[in-house]
């Protein structure tokens, strides 16, 4: 889960990292008042999860009060990838002599945190290309030992950073590592870390992502999970702990496990067809989450046919059948359902379902997908 810029900054500020003064605003009048408090020049920053904020005109430097309301209103009118801008962060504008990039991120292949320092100020770990042509130094961290001073020294000496900045940089590195650990982050990024004319380090921009699997123990962050930002299906998916993906096709899919999801999509694509939605109920789903998942597909007007592809290990086929019947009994729109149900307790699961007229049964993924696509083709003709 990515945090909004203002959320990330509030966490880093609490951790004692030097940041420019900033306050969140929801309308142009607020923006003007805050700018007056902070003092010009200020930077207005649209708060959004969408990429391309800068190019779209969502980040503007304002020198004088005269232009601020107009520009604020321009920013509030921006719609990025269908999401309107709701908040602007008003921030003190800074002049600086040099900028660096400093981050802790999770290296999933190695299974360790990594400390990165680079001369590519403003880059982001999420876009590897942004480090092109800049010197980058990484240090893996043994999570059981924690970040050590000598590792930070290794970075600053390799990049030839002036010794007068080491102590500050060391302190900031330890603090972002503490934030990384404390908040179960996968990324804590300062981009960029700037050197002011007074030889002070300041964190100009920041980015924090949190491990979704750890949210249960990050109570202080649960409010940050900005659900208003998601559609109904995405909120349902979060609620029932399933994975939901929306695509521009007409067949809704429900599978158990990422592998089956890919396999089903691969088979659809080999027939030049896209799914409308892909729901992964994961291993060991309960009948409630299965029922809710089918409900999402039945209620989705774009979905004309439904593929259910379950190979149960921990997912019990009798429980799956039970969940499916719960949704089917609710009187939602009827749609043809192509189902493959195999694995743990499949006999009793199939017994439960066999009388339902909307369902047709298949033995393999290939047969299942072929039949669904075949039906769709006939409908279209």
């Amino acid at each position: 889960m990515k945090l909004q810029e203002y959320q990330a900054k509030s966490i880093l500020k609490k951790a004692g990292i030097p940041l420019p003064a900033s306050t969140l605003a929801t309308n142009a009048v607020q923006v003007k008042r805050i700018a007056a408090e902070i003092g010009y020049p200020v930077v207005l920053k649209a708060q959004t999860f969408e990429p391309g904020r800068g190019k779209a005109g969502g980040v503007r430097i304002i020198q004088t009060e005269s232009e601020i309301e107009n520009i604020s209103n321009e920013i509030f009118k921006l719609v990025l990838n269908q999401h309107p801008v709701q908040f602007i962060l008003v921030e003190k504008a800074f002049t600086f002599s040099k900028e660096y990039y400093l981050a802790i991120f999770s290296d999933l292949d190695a299974g360790t945190p990594v400390l990165r320092l680079s001369e590519a100020g403003g880059a982001t770990y999420l876009e590897p290309d942004s480090f092109k042509n800049a010197r980058v130094v990484d240090r893996p961290i043994n999570i059981n030992l924690g970040l050590q001073d000598y590792q930070i020294r290794g970075l600053v000496t390799t990049l030839g950073i002036d010794p007068s900045l080491w102590k500050q940089l060391q302190l900031i590195a330890h603090k972002i590592y503490d934030v990384y650990r404390h908040y179960d982050a996968t990324l804590v990024e300062i981009n960029s870390l700037v050197v002011t004319q007074q030889n002070q380090l300041f964190a100009l921009d920041t980015r924090i992502s949190i491990d979704n699997q750890s949210l249960f123990r990050q109570e202080s962050l649960s409010d940050s999970l900005d659900q208003s930002y998601f559609g109904w299906e995405e909120r349902q998916a979060l609620k029932y702990d399933v994975d939901y993906h929306s695509f521009p096709g007409e067949i809704g899919c429900m599978v158990n496990g990422l592998g089956l999801a890919y396999l089903t999509i691969d088979q659809l694509i080999s027939l030049n067809t896209l799914p409308a939605a892909m729901i992964d109920i994961h291993g060991g789903a309960t009948s409630t989450s299965i029922s809710s998942s089918l409900e999402m597909l039945l209620l989705n007007p774009r979905v004309k046919a439904i593929i259910i592809n379950i190979f149960g290990g921990m997912t019990r086929c009798d429980e799956t059948a039970d969940g499916l019947l719960q949704a089917l009994d609710k009187g939602f729109p009827k749609k043809p359902i192509f189902i493959r149900l195999e694995g743990t307790n499949d006999d009793s699961g199939l017994d439960l379902l066999h009388k339902n007229e909307n369902l047709s049964f298949f033995g393999t993924t290939e047969a299942l997908v072929n039949a669904a696509v075949g039906w769709l083709r006939e409908e279209e003709e």
Partner: protein, 288 residues
């Protein structure tokens, strides 16, 4: 005859009184696996499964009493790292975490602890290790496979079932099926499994199932090129030509990921691995 577990393995279940742990312990008993007991803190001294399995408070107690050397973990995600560390501390040789979705930093702690131990972790988010006729140490559907000479290793659990089921339909038996798990940070990886299969006299061919995300299939390809003499057949799901169409639609909150087109199959082909275009092509390649 098998890798990771054998006829001599003494299997315990961590979380044996939970809904899933209890059910799958029954399934394992049905499959004839040698289950020797399980843990459920606070219920030590009781018996489960009609008095067939003794329950212990701690892994230490269970290992001391039963000499268990394989543990299958069904505890909830928030206490899985603790359960793994407990088994490492008690010297359990093969630790299989069925539970997935474990906090990433918990797994980093576990990985670091594993390095300084003699334990092997399979998973998390693994379907287990299956040696047909000997043991189903995990959640594989029963009777999904029969004994043979093909070793299978897969990240995805459901694809594990798919391929083994397909092989069975085509009359091909398997030596061992290992689901290494599809969580972002896992214990045993492809190279170690390949090393074990290479050394196993009852494995003649190896099937490797991959998927998008990470670079573990690339590492596998490098390892195969340098170390594996037995024929390897691979299938990488989600890497079909047209997958790139889907890129713009991938959700913020979901866990689907995408690779550069053909990156992994390309590396595997370079390592002289025969790559199946479809999962259902694998039996024919094995027989060829």
């Amino acid at each position: 005859m098998s890798i990771l577990i054998s006829a001599e393995s003494r299997i315990m279940v961590q979380g044996i009184t939970g809904r899933r742990g209890h059910f799958h312990a029954s399934q394992m008993l049905k499959s004839g696996s040698q289950i020797v007991g399980g843990t459920s803190p606070g219920k030590g001294g009781d018996w489960s499964h009609e008095g067939r399995l003794p329950i212990f408070d701690t892994v230490r107690d269970c290992v001391d009493a039963t000499s268990a050397d394989v543990s299958v973990i069904f505890v909830p995600p928030h206490s899985t790292a603790d359960a793994i560390l407990e088994s490492i501390d008690c010297g359990v040789k093969t630790i299989i975490s069925i539970t997935g979705s474990i906090p990433l930093q918990d797994m980093m702690v576990v990985k670091s602890a594993l390095k300084n131990s003699d334990s092997i972790l399979v998973g998390p988010n693994s379907p287990g290790v299956l040696v047909p006729g000997i043991a189903n140490a995990g959640i594989f559907p029963n009777d999904i496979a029969f004994q043979g000479n093909v070793g299978v290793v897969s990240r995805s659990g459901t694809l594990c079932y798919e391929i083994v089921d397909t092989l069975k339909r085509e009359g091909i038996g398997v030596s061992t099926v290992v689901g290494i798990g599809d969580d972002p940070i896992i214990g045993i990886d492809y190279p170690t499994c390949l090393e074990l299969f290479e050394a196993d006299p009852h494995t003649d061919q190896i099937v490797l199932i991959g998927g998008p995300g990470g670079d573990s299939e690339i590492k596998a390809a490098t390892y195969i090129m340098e170390n594996v003499t037995k024929p390897v057949i691979a299938y990488v799901v989600g890497e079909s030509l047209a997958t790139s169409i889907l890129r713009p639609f991938f959700s913020r909150s979901g866990s689907l990921s995408l690779d550069s087109l053909g990156k992994k199959t390309g590396a595997l082909i370079d390592a002289s691995v025969r790559v199946a275009g479809k999962l259902s092509d694998i039996p024919a390649i094995i027989k060829s």
